[in-house]
Chain length 328, copies 2
Amino acid sequence: MVTLNDVAKSANVSKMTVSRVINHPEQVTDELKQLVFKAMNELDYHPNLAAKALAANATRIIKLVILEKVDTVEPYYATLLMGVAQFLNAHQYALQVVTQKNADIGECDGYIITGARNDDFTWIQELRKPVILYGENRHHYDFVDSDNKYGTFLSTGAAIKDGYDQIIFLGIELKESFEYSRERGYMDTMQKSGLQPQIIRFGNHSSESQQYIEDHWHEFKPNTCFVCSSDRLAIGVERGIQRMGGSIPEDFGITGFDGVFLDQIAEPKLSTVKQPVMAMGSKIAELLMQKINHGVTTNDQSPERDRTEVMFSPELIRRNTTRNYHLN
Amino acid sequence: MVTLNDVAKSANVSKMTVSRVINHPEQVTDELKQLVFKAMNELDYHPNLAAKALAANATRIIKLVILEKVDTVEPYYATLLMGVAQFLNAHQYALQVVTQKNADIGECDGYIITGARNDDFTWIQELRKPVILYGENRHHYDFVDSDNKYGTFLSTGAAIKDGYDQIIFLGIELKESFEYSRERGYMDTMQKSGLQPQIIRFGNHSSESQQYIEDHWHEFKPNTCFVCSSDRLAIGVERGIQRMGGSIPEDFGITGFDGVFLDQIAEPKLSTVKQPVMAMGSKIAELLMQKINHGVTTNDQSPERDRTEVMFSPELIRRNTTRNYHLN
DNA sequence: TTGTATGCGTTATCAC
DNA sequence: GTGATAACGCATACAA
């Protein structure tokens, strides 16, 4: 293993100079810097993370806490995780995935928390390391999320332009910010166009939306579009329509929301509002690392503090469950 | 932060005694051990991993290398990853997920490698840390896998017992051990029952198997069961049969393979051979840690060496795409 | 069985 | 601008 000392000897400087070249290059003359860089390359030097962590009283470990009860098998979380892992790897941080609230086992330098409900914040408040949340929240914590309202603005708008004259929103029965935002995007867009909004809500299972379609089939006239709050619901709608013999996308349109895996599994493939989940994962990791490097140790979420909010714009993917897909 | 020293003072012993209580408890008298345990609890002592790693010249980082080109979004890998992560967390190891062969960036204590093809082994050979593979291999590397042959023995056998008189195997067009084993399990079971085997292979996409069913629909007489080598293929078959108006499971049976996410998404839900993917992930991590702790640094895969092979038995889940599902 | 000294690789602090 | 020294927390080697 090549150490700081080895490089120092090879470059004929002290090891502190080498350390400075890495951490505070502005304090070293260009001349020495060149020598050190040369030595580092020749010896293929890589800093020892454990030593670094020990000296800095850090762990170089980030915890990803998944609070939802949902199966961690969810492709959605897997994708997010990959995004986080990608950034962390590039910066030599290691990841620990935690699925319960037993996150207090072992130290870490920071937390990424996803799926936090209101009850969870009493626990989150007690964390003594930087925190970034995945998802909007009313507790003034830094977060990354996608612009949910804009997402349903896109899907609802497209349904209108495509000429569907009845546009029904199938939402998730959940008192969460993201769902409110998605419903608002639909409502606003409908009202601006002078159309009558109609919202029905279910648990987020394809069986429930499928059942609904079948039970209420007589109510739906051809030229109806179902704007869904998740791909899961959209898949159920698709099956229900197929079961009842409706034609997709001519008489009945469907748009989903999320764009992770499920949309591609459906047949015909779903038109959907795709969230850049992978990129969002990377961004969260990046923000957390900034916080860590700036020495933020307290989670000051007082209203006075500037809070970091990063919103990603989702994208409408036109595929085969809405008209005009050939225009894509 | 509570250190070894703090505990030592509190227990009125030297810090080495505390260290020994943790690492070599047999060398310490029960009397002192009790004192030390008490102090550790009272002070809520947790060892500093960075220091541990530094002293042991270790990193406490494990790399999970995913070599397949397949999307890491695959629920299959996500589940495996969760299994690995769970075990690692419990033992205070951190995980780095690596998706290319750029695994050489940064040090680690060991590798878990999944999806290794023959070409990959030249690279794997050069790794200077313990390695465990996910999946059978002919290179004498330690591995964990599920008993693929037994899996199709189960699904084929069930199809026979359920009374289907034509049983067709839909396989994946891939020269990999797992596929050979699955086909062999089917072949052997068919031959033992004096039935005529028939194997067709596709790329692992539901669209291909669906297309096949629709194109060859006239060839399939009622009372046929399709034994598939993946849930993906099974879903395509299901759609094809539904499209052509066949009745499931009365006239046409389907069994999948994998049992991760997709089987539940299908409607009707798939009968499938479920692999205990999560448990397999944990087991891999466990084996790797054993290797690390026993100071195995070389990857001796000479035939003389005992190699560790752990095979998990898959389980037949009877759901709604085969008969007699009420017997489950 | 228990304690002391030393070193792991890095960085902060303080001299020069 | 550069170098010597101590310290981070733990574990090995050796001494008692």
